[in-house]
Structures are given as structure tokens and as C-alpha cells.
Point group: C2
Chain length 593, copies 2
């Protein structure tokens, strides 16, 4: 019984000793009995059920709550001195010591949260985040299949994506350069994620607003007398297809020829359009608070501009007089525009309550297949693949136009550097574009991209040599070398995809580079094993500076890549390492001597 | 106020509401006030004083104890689910979660203990054991100085030391081979520890039992009429020195010619003795319970034998007719003998309560300088150095006679292997023997030991090459290479010692090997950096198996070696790495990306 109980008792004892004695004896017996029953229930519960599952029986939960009511635990504050340097307050019960999770969390970099289910509250402790992995055999990796888990990625939604360019049809990165640049790795991942979603997601739902086959065009509202709209036959050779010609002022203040709709779910617009003279397409966006925004896709070379409630995306002045297949994720464009003015949270809030209210066209042109759809992954995937075809340089590479400082003053890259990961991911994308289209241009582009793998980092290429022995393809071809693991493996996957699909010289070259790389990987993989996790790179070995431990996100990427390597090569090294690295995420370190 | 208080109060309230209300109000006010004062005291205390020192003011300790009495806080059991796999019971107080140290200790491999000082109990949490290091500049490392912290070592007391051989005067190891073998590394460390103690410990206290200069020998008791003892002049050329000749039966059952003493502190015996025919020296040991043990040093080639209370150490049959300088740590010999029959604890107990009761001689011989002393480190050091002179093979090495399985079936060494660490530590010992004696034999022996460093592991030597680029001297010259860090650095210290002291070809050769090794060390040191500790070796890189994390003992050896390397080479790599590796022992990991 606590001291306070004692004080109170003494006070009363003077008057009713008997009564109190009886009461007190009774109380104690009761408590002890409760306690015994409870502990049995709990311990049996823990051993029998808990290890199997985290689900809980209400009955046992009751036992706990009961316990909390009837057994105030006797404990004391206890000062815990950490490595003799500072202290935190813990708790002491008899000889048992308890330390505060607030300390454990920061000190050991672990995770935990209170969770309630079945009315029972428990604390969920995790060594790392996302520590669950697919169990059982994985689908075999294929050059024409889903790329790793990229079907889970949404590249365009990332903060470091300024917007998806209307001119190039690919994301613009603000990483390392506020004003933005076309970053090959990001573009390739954008393409690979949409390819993977194309394969893994259900067929797109569609609402066709205009297919040019109807004679009745009364759904299109003309803004004034001078404006016209009429159906005609497509005059492109060998086509028996109806299209719609339109003519209206190009003035943006004028509404243009509009067709109204109300769409909350089908938020991707795709259409074929040719502007005979200047013109634009506008998507009307109605927000939750009744504001009307207008997204204008215009024949300009400005990427993005927000003026009042008018948002402008340039689609390229050079496209006048050409048929364009325009595909836009309208709400992505809207959200990226809003972030030019509002915070990300505010922008997302406005976006999520908005819907598409209409489509308008201006100027003089011809349109067809105006469609709203749930998604158009294949279009976006080809937009990315076509970017790499258009922008490959004479060396066969896609240079990065910004400075990259891996370690300021120690490992820096000047604008114009190539990335083996950029080359490799582009190749994986181009191979899939070839498989999906049978257009050999994609395969030829992929083949040319191999040249960069033979050029040493010191000469502007991506080839590093570990102690003049092992060929390593550098994500960041710094001097000294940085040996970033995930980038190297991505480059190997590109080489694998190409050697599997290409023929002749290209296949031979890709195979040769892939074999060399795999030999290197087998020799060096465990240099990245820290015994409790992995290293992101080998900067410590080449620069003499502190190791750069991979945070759990990157450790998990290493693991996902190992899942693929196990498919590609039966060397037990990959399987054993995969199992150990998975264990690290659950706090199972390598043994010590 | 707790529920139980409430129950008791309600009970009384029925009878004396007023009284209780007053009491209660008073109590509450008091508590709140106490609480405020307390928290101020404590928090100021923690921030101002605790981070500086672990020492405590009684006044503040009082405040804590007071707190424990007067602040009931709602405190409950809380089930903590660990990585979704199993659960442990924690505690919850408001929103604060506490986890049991019993879990933390095992899960994170950390240490903690309850400690009381100034009547104040606290919990001392440690990331590792022995995490304190010398602060400020260290004494410059010198080839003639204390070796690392070996003055703290007591090699002969280790369990894996069977005993110190009377024949060779060096320890016999049972590591990897129960029956025992002469292990060069252990012998060198035995010698280096006694050399270091010789330099760092105060002068030995001595009690001379016989110096042969007195004419009165009545302290020596003759067992029978046939026995004799008499003083004479030392007949070794150019010596004006008195010695004592003795003659008695060689029968061990016979007491021999004895001199009694009672010595609890001066437990090392040293004497000069020559047996003209067979004979022995016996040390009488009286135990706490009055038993009398006899340690016989006999002209035999048996290492050690215990019969009843008679313990036999062979000193080598070949020593008959030669002057011997015999130096024995009597209680070490006694304890090792007892462990042939009793547990280590029991043996230590018996030993610690025992004293030397007398010295006896048998057979026909001459003796001089019979002395009991607190220590004789210099003698033992030279015993070890002389062992290496006597046993160097034609290649210049000291082969290890037992099988070593670093990884069974993967990294194994057959009997007859050399160890670069053994060679290096022997060199460090021999260099010091030369410095202490000016006897060039030691230096020549050290010079010959260099040859082994040029022979590849694959050809029975110790030279490994990392990717055909870096020369590494292997503690365990396995194939594939194991690259044990601490052994490599010890071998470098041997090379350093020799290049500093030797001249001519030997100096050049040692310098060349040292420079090559340092180049390797600078290139490979950080391959052992795990970001939270160090690796013992690079087996994971060469074998593809799990990394072998260094336990904190070995991590601390790495750190002690870095302290020396910082002295020998001003490359910032060593200093920066030293600081980071010290931080690991206090739970300061390398950063992650």
C-alpha cells in the first residue's frame, strides 16, 4: 500500500480500527487474487496467440483493462545516464528498469507508434519502415515486363518535379537546379512507371467527347458569330476517318469553342489536334469553392506560367501545322500550377475538390478523338521513350546539364556528365518501347547508348575501374569514383534488357558489358554490406571520409534489386545476401566474433 | 490520488467529512507545490550539472526521493509488438511509452547496470564496454618503449594458457589444440607484456634467501647425516663470487635441504643453479586450510604433472651440468597445477589464501642468488625473447604446429603455417631485447624473420595481395585471404620497430616492407569501417559469406592501434578514423544519406 494510503488510514484508524482492518485485509486479498488470474491470462495469451498474430481477442483485452484498474504498479523515477554523457528519466519497478521510447527512438533510429484495435491499445515497434517483402517465388523478371516495383511509383507527383513539360511530354526536375532541367534518370523512371502501370492496372475507363463521326456538333458552343465548327473527312492519306474543323479567335480572353462536361474521375485528356494557324486548347477546372481555373495548352515555348486563374503550358511553337497527339494528366498539370502560388498542402486540397468542367479550342485547326480517361499510361510511356530518341547526342548519351556535388569539393561533376544509370534506365525504357511498338528506332537508340559504357569517367564517360580490375558503371562518374550501388545495378538491368531483346552486334556488345558488370558486382557486392544495413556508395573507401550509410529507403531498393538478380543469376551470393539484408530491416545483424 | 486512496477516503468521508476535506485539501496543495519546486531543481540540475559529470549532490538526490513519494502518475502495462514478430511488456504513462531494458539490452547489444552513489541510485547505460580512452596527447610510440597497452595484459593468467613451460620458459597455449602447443603470438605477447611491465611498474621488492657470501649456512636444514651444504668460491673464470654447494638424496619423498620462510607478497622465485648430477628444486606452498603442496622443478622433459600434493614442472633433462638462471612465478605455477584437478574458481581460491613456506634443493649441485621478489619481468621477457632465438627455423619463421579453421571448410590452415602477426610481434620483442641487452643476436634473429613477409600465402608464406595491387601481411594466411585488420597492423608495428633500430640491409628491407604495408593500410582501412563499428576481417568480401563484425574488444584494439598509427604517420585518415571509431563506442554512427 502506498504512503498516501497509509497517511489516510492512520487518520481513520484512530476512530474505527476494526472497520479499517477488515476493509484493508479484504482489499489486499482481492488484489492479489485478481493479479494471479490476470497474469495467467496474459502470459498464456502472449505465448499462445501473440507470436502468431497481432490480432487480439476482446476477452484478453478486457483482462488488460481490468488489470490497469485494479493493480496500480509500484514504480519509481530512475535517472538513466547515457554513456556517462547526459541523462534521461526512466522508470524502475523492483529490479526492472524501463527506458523511455523517446530516447530509444532517437538513439537507435527506430520507429514506434501506439495503435488501437479491438479496443485494445498496443505499441508497434519497428526497426525500420516498410520492412515487409513479398513472400514466395517472384514473377520472373522480363525485359518486356513490369520494371521492379515502378508500378508503385508516381514520378510526376514528386516535389522535385516542377511539372510535365507540354513541349517534351516529360517531367522537368528541380533537383540540384531550382530553375529546372530535363534529368534523364527521372524521365526514364517516369516512362518505366507508366509502362509498368500500363501492364498492371485495369483497362482505362473512357468518355469520348468528340470522335468526328457524328454530324451533330451542337454540344460545342460557339462564343460568337465569327466562330465556326464543322465535321469533315480526315485528308491524311489512306484514312477513312471523320474529324472536326474549328475556327475561332485566338484571343485567350475569349472563351473559345467549348464543350462543357462534369468529370471528377476521368482526369486525363487525350486528343489529336492540328493547328492550321495559331491556337490553343483549354481545360476548364471548377474548384470546390466555385472558382473557375483555365489550363491553356498553347503553341509557345514557355514551360509553365500562372496568371490569376489562367495557367499556361507551352506545347511548342514548332508544332503549328502538325498533327499532335496531346495527352495530359489534367489534375497533375493543375496541381503543379497551383504550387507556383500556394503551398503543396493547399494546392493538393484545392486540386482534390476540383473537377473538369469543360474543354475549349481556339484558333483555326482540326481535332479528333477528344477523350477523357481514367489513365493513359501507354501514351505517357511513349512520350518518355520518344524524348530519348529525339535527344540522344552524337556519343549516344543523354548528358545531364547541371552541376552535381556528391561531396562538395571532393566529388563534383560539371554540367554535361553522363550517368550509367541514366543510360541504363533509358535503355530499359527503349527496349520496352520496341517490344510494345516493334519500331526498330527504339532498339537502335538503345544500341547507340552502349557507347558511353566504354568511356572512362576521367574522359567524360561512366566507366570506373576498381583497382584497375573491375569495370563499374557509375551513376555519378566522379573522380575519385563513388561506386553508387543502386545506380550500377539499374545500369546492369538496362544491359540485360537489351542483350535479351537485341540481335547481332548490339546483342553481343550489351552481353559483353553485362557479363563484365556482373563479374564486378559479384566481387564487390559485399563491400556494401555494413553488417547491420548497407552503404549507399563506397565514398569512404575512395575518399577516406566517413561511410555513407544507406537510409532504409535505399536499403530497400538494394533488396528489391537483389530479388531481380536472384532471378537473373543463380550464384548463391545473391540469394544469401538478399536474405541477410532483409533480416537487417528487422534488426537481425550479422554475427560478431 | 490513486483509486485505493479514494476507496479509503470514501469509507471515512461518511463519518468525518470536514476533517477529511481539510486533510485532503492540505495534502493536495502540498503535493502541487512540492512538485513545482522539485521539477525546477531536477531540470536545472540535469542541464547544468549532469551533462558535465555523473557525480551527484545529496540535496538533489533528496529531491528525487521526495518526488517518488508524492507524485502518483497514471502508469499502465503496455504490450509492445516487436517488428510484428513477438511482443514484450512495456509501460505507458500518459502518452509516454517505456520499454524494458531487458529487451533493449538483448535487441541492441548494449549494456547497463544500477549503480548507487551519494545514497542516490541511477542506471548507467553503455553502448559498449570499456568506452573510455586516454584524452590529450599520447606518449610517442617508441621501439624501445611500452608496447601499446600490453602492460595491462597478463597472458599467463589466461584460461587458454596451460602453464608456463619450465623447459622453454614460455606459456603453452591450448587454443585450437587441447594438448597444448607453443603459439608464437602468445609467446611474443607474454614477452612484450613483461617488457612493458618492467618499464611501467615500480622496482621489484626482494628478499635474498641465499647469496653465497655468508659463511653461516645454518638456515638450511639437512634432512639426514648423508646430506651436506657448504660455501665455496664460484669457479667460473674471472669471477670473485661466493656460491653454495649442496649434496643430498635425489629422492622426491625425501624433503631435501630446506630453508623455511613465510612469504605472502614476494611470490616470484629466481636463482642461479647448476646440477652436477640429477637433482631438483622444490617450493613449499602452505594453503589457507593448512595443506602443504610441493612444486618440484625437476630435470625432466615432462611439462607439468600433479600427483596428490606434489606438482612437477620439468625444466629439461639437457640442463644437467649447466648453470641455469631459473625464474618462476610460483603462484602462477601453483594455480595452473591446481586447475589440472579443480575448477578455475576453486583453484584461484586455494591460491589466493596460500603462501610460500620454504625452498628445498636435492641431488648434487651449486646454487647462488636464491631470491624471492615481487616480480621479475625482465627475466621473463628475456625468457620469451630467447625462445624466438632458439626456435627460428631456416626460413626465418616460427611455424604454428596446429590446424586453424577460420571458417571450417572455407578458410583453413594446416599445421606448419606462419603468421605475419607472429613474425611481427616476435620482431617487436626481439628489437626490445636488443635495446635492453645490446646483444646483436636478437637483432639478427629479427632481421631473418623478414623473409617470411615476401612469401605468398599460397606458397606457405604470409603475403596476400588485394586484387593484385596491395600487399597485405596475413595473421592467418588463408586462401581465400581473410585480411584480419589487427594482425596486419601488429605486423606493421614489428616492421616499424625494426626499421627504426636496425641498420644497413635489414633496415632497408624492414622499411620497404613497412612502406608497402602502410600504403595498403591507407587504401584498405575503411573497408573495415561498418558505419557503426568495425569488421574483424574481410571474409565477407573474399568468401561471399556474412560479414564478421568485430566485437567491442577487437574494436577497441583497432582504436588502440590507431592511436599509435596517428603517432607514426600524419595522414589525416588515421586521426579522422580514430575519432569516428571512438564515437561508434558511444553510439554515434556514421551519417546516412
Amino acid at each position: 500500500m502506498t504512503r498516501t494510503e497509509l497517511k489516510v488510514l492512520i487518520l481513520c484508524v484512530g476512530i474505527f480500527p476494526l472497520l479499517l482492518t477488515i476493509y484493508n485485509i479484504g482489499k489486499c486479498d482481492l488484489t492479489v487474487e485478481d493479479d494471479r488470474i490476470l497474469r495467467e491470462e496474459v502470459s498464456s495469451h502472449i505465448t499462445n496467440e501473440f507470436e502468431a498474430s497481432v490480432g487480439f481477442q476482446p476477452r484478453v483485452a478486457q483482462a488488460y483493462n481490468h488489470a490497469k484498474r485494479t493493480n496500480p504498479i509500484k514504480y519509481e523515477e530512475l535517472e538513466c545516464v547515457i554513456n556517462g554523457d547526459y541523462s534521461v528519466m526512466g522508470r524502475k519497478e523492483g529490479k526492472d528498469v524501463y527506458m523511455p521510447f523517446s530516447f530509444i527512438q532517437n538513439y537507435f533510429e527506430v520507429y514506434g507508434s501506439l495503435e488501437t484495435s479491438d479496443g485494445y491499445e498496443r505499441f508497434s515497434f519497428h526497426h525500420s519502415y516498410q520492412d515487409t517483402f513479398p513472400s514466395g517465388p517472384q514473377p520472373k523478371y522480363q525485359p518486356s515486363g513490369v520494371f521492379m516495383s515502378f508500378d508503385q511509383y508516381s514520378v510526376e507527383d514528386r516535389n522535385r518535379v516542377k511539372c510535365v513539360s507540354g513541349i517534351e511530354g516529360v517531367p522537368i526536375s528541380t533537383q540540384w537546379e531550382r530553375k529546372g532541367h530535363y534529368y534523364p534518370i527521372q524521365i526514364a523512371q517516369y516512362g518505366l512507371s507508366h509502362y509498368s502501370k500500363h501492364l498492371s492496372q485495369p483497362q482505362s475507363k473512357e468518355k469520348v467527347l468528340e470522335d468526328g463521326e457524328e454530324t451533330d456538333l451542337s454540344d460545342w458552343l460557339l462564343p460568337d458569330r465569327k466562330s465556326e465548327i464543322r465535321g469533315k473527312m480526315d485528308d491524311r492519306i489512306l484514312m477513312d476517318n471523320g474529324v472536326v474543323e474549328f475556327q475561332a479567335t485566338t484571343n485567350q480572353k475569349n472563351s473559345g469553342i467549348c464543350r462543357s462536361t462534369k468529370e471528377k474521375r476521368l482526369l486525363t485528356l487525350s486528343m489529336d489536334i492540328m493547328f492550321i494557324n495559331n491556337g490553343s486548347v483549354t481545360v476548364l477546372i471548377q474548384t470546390g469553392d466555385g472558382n473557375l481555373y483555365r489550363i491553356h495548352y498553347v503553341l509557345s515555348d514557355n514551360i509553365i506560367k500562372l496568371e490569376g486563374k489562367d495557367l499556361y503550358y507551352g506545347i511548342g511553337s514548332h508544332k503549328k501545322g502538325k498533327w499532335i497527339h496531346l495527352t495530359r494528366q489534367v489534375m497533375v498539370d493543375f496541381q503543379k500550377g497551383l504550387t507556383l502560388r500556394f503551398s503543396k498542402n493547399r494546392s493538393n486540397k484545392i486540386k482534390s475538390a476540383a473537377h473538369i468542367a469543360g474543354i475549349c479550342v481556339r484558333g483555326h485547326g482540326i481535332m479528333d478523338n477528344v477523350t477523357l480517361r481514367s489513365h493513359a499510361h501507354k501514351d505517357l510511356f511513349f512520350d518518355a521513350a520518344d524524348y530519348f530518341v529525339r535527344h540522344q547526342d552524337s556519343e549516344g548519351g543523354w548528358p545531364v546539364k547541371v552541376t552535381r556535388k556528391l561531396i562538395p569539393g571532393v566529388m563534383e561533376l560539371e554540367p554535361g556528365w553522363y550517368s550509367a544509370m541514366g543510360q541504363g534506365q533509358a535503355i530499359s525504357l527503349l527496349v520496352r518501347a520496341y517490344v510494345a511498338s516493334k519500331d526498330r528506332t527504339y532498339l537502335e537508340t538503345a544500341g547507340k547508348a552502349l557507347n558511353i559504357f566504354d568511356i572512362p569517367s576521367s574522359e567524360g564517360g561512366v566507366l570506373a575501374k576498381f583497382l584497375n580490375t573491375y569495370d563499374w558503371y557509375e551513376e555519378y562518374p566522379t573522380t575519385p569514383s563513388s561506386f553508387v550501388l543502386n545506380g550500377f545495378i539499374y545500369s546492369l538491368l538496362g544491359l540485360y534488357d537489351l542483350k535479351e531483346i537485341a540481335i547481332g552486334r548490339t546483342r553481343e556488345k550489351a552481353a559483353e558489358l553485362f557479363e563484365k558488370g556482373m563479374r564486378t558486382l559479384k566481387a564487390m557486392l559485399l563491400m556494401f554490406d555494413s553488417g547491420t544495413g548497407t552503404f549507399y556508395d563506397l565514398r569512404h573507401i575512395t575518399s577516406g571520409l566517413s561511410p555513407n550509410r544507406a537510409r532504409w529507403d535505399y536499403h530497400k531498393v538494394h533488396i528489391k534489386q537483389l530479388y531481380i538478380l536472384v532471378e537473373l543469376d543463380n550464384d548463391p551470393l545473391f540469394y544469401n545476401t538478399l536474405e541477410r539484408w532483409k533480416g537487417y530491416m528487422k534488426g537481425k545483424p550479422a554475427p560478431h566474433n
